[in-house]
Amino acid sequence: MSAYLDHNATSPVRPDVIQAIADALGVIGNPSSVHGAGRSARRLLEESREAIAAFVGAEPSGVIFTSGGSEANALALSGLGRKTVIASAIEHPSVLKAAQCHVLPVNGDGVAELQALEKLLANLGGRDALVSVMLANNETGVVQPVAELTRIAHAHGALVHCDAVQAAGKLDLDIKALGVDCLSLSAHKLGGPQGVGALVLADPNIDVSPLIKGGGQERSHRAGTENLSGIAGFAAAVRTVEDGGAERMAVLRDGLECALLNAVPGLTIFGRNVDRLPNTSCLAVPGLTAQTAVMALDLAGVMVSAGSACSSGKVAPSHVLTAMGAGALAGAAVRVSLGWNSTAADVDAFVEAFTALARRHEIQDAATAA
């Protein structure tokens, strides 16, 4: 029996989604062709666009399909034409490496600081600035005060991009309520396939210069024949995000944390005092390195990750926890992330395995000390 608790890295594809993908792979035409086969493909594309738009409360014409969250972030940062980029210290590498960023610090709970943004904008000037803040962090799940940050940014004339990749499907998402100018989505984080995402514009008429140039696809915002099966799968995934799913995950996650706090002395849970995604728990025991923990848990059939899984095999201290001032504890952080098919049995498996691991570590520690 194995427990997959690494949904923030990638979430298994939902069964309904697989069917939608298989169906779309059977659609023959190119959506840009004018004949019947092309028009059928176009219809599927536009229906999918409407589903994504409805999911975030945007206009269908504001949805630009991309190859994923990383491309959506790159498009936002390069395409909005703002010379100054301010990004929070805990952004995904695809944001932090897309531009020379002025860093907006976070507090000890991992929340971006409003006053710091005010100061940065006052110093740098807002008219030529883009502020990029994620809605929820991928490692800690900490939710950012995006609406407040946006009000500040807009007051200075800055534009706001929001990486909503981790939040989508776990929090209610409304682009108008957030007030941001655009947000990034990724299908495979919410039960859709890998290789597809979107940049959603609040105002479809805002100027976005394409990162990938060529044909007039995506209203000339993103050239290239559309990934039709991926896009259809993305739409199927957002259609199946269930009401109450977030509450269900929150109950499981809170149970997990409660059990561990009782069983494991010295346990730290990052961001526990602030608003977090309902599915994420980032925890650490001093001295128990994350790499050791992840390997031991893996042998016990529990799949979680150490910090972010995006670094393709590289082991480096998490920039997110470091920004929160975690110090050496950053190297001990284990991320547990639940998803649409997680069960109480998965949580129990983790609690049991982690508790046993922490006990062994404690005994070893005591032996070393003696």
């Binding site: 194995s2 990638t10 298994p12 594809v13 989604v17 697989i18 993908i21 298989a22 792979l25 059977g26 659609v27 023959i28 035409g29 190119n30 840009s32 062709s33 004018v34 004949h35 019947g36 086969a37 092309g38 991309t66 190859s67 994923g68 969250g69 990383s70 491309e71 790159a74 995904h92 590498p93 695809s94 490496k97 897309a98 990724s186 495979h188 396939p193 890998q194 290789g195 597809v196 990162l211 990938i212 140039k213 060529g214 044909g215 050239a223 290239g224 024949t225 559309e226 990934n227 039709l228 099966s229 991926g230 896009i231 893996d298 799949m303 995006c310 670094s311 393709s312 590289k314 098919n341």
Partner: protein, 416 residues
């Protein structure tokens, strides 16, 4: 044509409309779909997926696909970077090289008949201060090698020439172009979206340094492609998408395992069947051309017939009006020589570049044949085209005048 027709490739009776637009996109081969589907499901369903076994499985699958893609172009697997498609590959290759070497070199050479994404990328680079030479083509659609060589300067960073044109199917002298580029120490990029799996390609024999590959043009899925980036001598690129550092830093973002597997399988099948399929499609194309030409006078083949990919023919039908022609062949899914841009019909820039006037460009059809095209479908297409064109010509005063021997070009049209 329904999905099932494409999948089985068998038709008891020809289904209408018949898909003859294989240069626009190809139906995903059922063998490719079959290879892909387990990678959507087995990850979590497989009890052996413990201990990251699935992770290893996925990685193994990606690396196998990388080898399959490399094999069809004679490259090393380490030289393959997966992208979201040939458009991204072209953008990455051209912008990537231009930006990386911009301190020493600022000149790019390309051709007027390249795909729009190559031309748009080059035009964009011009706004950044790069100089671009757009080589013309001869009336047969091929470039003049002497002209290419003369255009190279010590400031030239990159030559970008497609192997096979998407509209007229002509095959450029890629090996000769590669030889010239290597001799002058200039990188050679080739957009091979329409060439891979259709003509033999060897990046070493042809001295190609960067090559763009598309999945959906070779019966793979849409949304996946690759860029070949030579390691010796090493070509360096500035990435378009940064982040997690996947694909050796040249292209960040989570790899879409099922799509990658689909591209690999599509390459494997195409490589295996290239020779026999090439012969079959050449025969079908000849049948189509002969069938139409035997019954219709005043038709013109656009682009060289000899240096041409098997599955493409592009014909202009004189004395027929373009939109009428498209409406007339409604039982065929084909493309015309017009691109619909902002509600006005623009004649194809490729056809204009080989010397066609606007009318002859408008009145052309691109007939793309492929893996699921049958002889029966070709015969239907011949009848359908002949009937449509004959009917349109009967209604055409120009055709009547031509029949009477009046030279249309000599007429002085009155202003209205």
């Amino acid at each position: 044509m329904t999905a099932m027709t494409a999948r089985t490739g068998k038709t008891n009776q020809a289904k209408h409309p018949i898909y003859l637009d294989y240069q626009a996109t190809t139906p995903c081969d059922p063998r490719v779909v079959e290879a892909m589907l387990p990678y959507f499901t087995e990850k979590f369903g497989n009890p052996h997926s413990r201990n990251h076994a699935y992770g290893w499985e996925a990685e193994e699958a990606v690396e196998l696909a990388r080898e399959q893609v490399a094999a069809i172009i004679g490259a090393d697997a380490k030289e393959i970077v997966f992208t979201s498609g040939a458009t991204e590959s072209n953008n990455l290759a051209i912008k990537g090289v231009a930006h990386f070497y911009k301190d020493k070199k600022d000149h790019i050479i390309t051709v007027v008949t390249e795909h729009k994404c190559v031309l748009d990328t080059c035009r964009h680079l011009e706004t950044e201060g790069f100089k671009v030479t757009y080589l013309p083509v001869k009336p047969n659609g091929l470039i003049d090698l002497a002209e290419l060589e003369a255009a190279i300067t010590e400031r030239t960073a990159l030559v970008s020439v497609m192997a096979v044109n998407n509209e007229i199917g002509v095959v450029q002298p890629i090996a000769e172009i590669g030889g010239i580029c290597r001799k002058h120490g200039v990188f050679f990029h080739s957009d091979c979206a329409q060439a891979v799996g259709k003509i033999p390609l060897d990046v070493n024999a042809m001295n190609i340094d960067l090559m763009s590959i598309s999945g959906h043009k070779i019966y793979g899925p849409k949304g996946i492609g690759a860029l070949f980036v030579r390691r010796r001598p090493r070509v360096r690129l500035q990435a378009l998408i940064n982040g997690g550092g996947q694909e050796r830093g040249m292209r960040s973002g989570t790899l879409a395992t099922p799509l990658v597997v689909g591209l690999g399988e599509a390459c494997r099948i195409s490589q295996e069947e290239m020779e026999s399929e090439g012969k079959r499609l050449t025969a079908l194309r000849e049948r189509l051309l002969k069938g139409v030409a035997a019954r219709l006078p005043e038709i013109y083949v656009n682009g060289d017939l000899e240096h041409r990919v098997p599955g493409n023919i592009n014909i202009s039908f004189a004395f027929v009006e373009g939109e009428g022609l498209m409406m007339g062949v409604k039982d065929l899914a084909v493309s015309s020589g017009s691109a619909c841009t902002s509600a006005s019909l623009e004649p194809s820039y490729v056809l204009r570049a080989i010397g066609l006037d606007a009318e002859m460009a408008h009145t052309s059809l691109r007939l793309g044949l492929g893996r699921f095209t049958t002889e029966e479908e070709v015969d239907f297409a011949i009848d359908h085209i002949v009937e449509a064109v004959s009917r349109l010509r009967e209604l055409s005063p120009l055709w009547e005048m031509h029949q009477e021997g009046i030279d249309i070009k000599s007429i002085q049209w009155a202003e209205h």
